[in-house]
Assembly symmetry: C2
Homo-oligomer: 103 residues x 2
């Protein structure tokens, strides 16, 4: 199995970030992850329990490849965290402003 791909800080693009957050479900996932201080598994961060596994997996892949989250394998589950430092370095205040708009 190939290791999970994460872009480096400099490879994070604005278009990628906006496009990833343009989906309401993904936005809620990121919001959940921000509200928790520690990492969350994919299923724990899911907004509702009835989302198919494959769909959820797909959304997490998009968030990961856009550089929004960092995913590490921890036993049987994947722990996810928002790449806040990278995002703030690259696009200051962007994440905060977008999340604030999502009330």
């Amino acid at each position: 199995m190939a290791p999970l791909f994460h872009p480096s800080r400099d490879d994070i693009t604005l278009a990628g970030v906006l496009s990833a957050l343009a989906d309401p479900l993904r936005l809620r996932i990121v919001k959940s992850l921000m509200e928790q201080k520690d990492c969350m598994s994919c299923t724990a961060a899911a907004p509702c329990p009835d989302i198919p596994k494959s769909t959820l997996s797909n959304h997490f892949r998009i968030l990961r490849e856009a550089g929004l989250i960092q995913t590490t394998k921890k036993g049987v589950e994947h722990r996810n965290a928002v790449r806040e430092a990278d995002l703030n370095a690259r696009f200051p205040k962007l994440l905060k402003t977008i999340l604030a708009s999502a009330e």
Copy 2:
């Protein structure tokens, strides 16, 4: 010919705005429109001259239906302007922050 559709302020959604701005070409269009104080025609606001007309028209429609721009017919051309007041009222600082990230 049907009049051009514009959503009311309250119908502007975050997902719609993000998704519209997630395209680099559309982001540049909005940027151009912000830098001009007066309205611009569609062709004038196009980032490069070799974009097919239908493609450009499509991008302007997406921006319009997302609530990002206001389009009015003025003779043979369409004058476009960013709906800054509506956007700031709905999502404070969002537009400014996104445009600032697009350097």
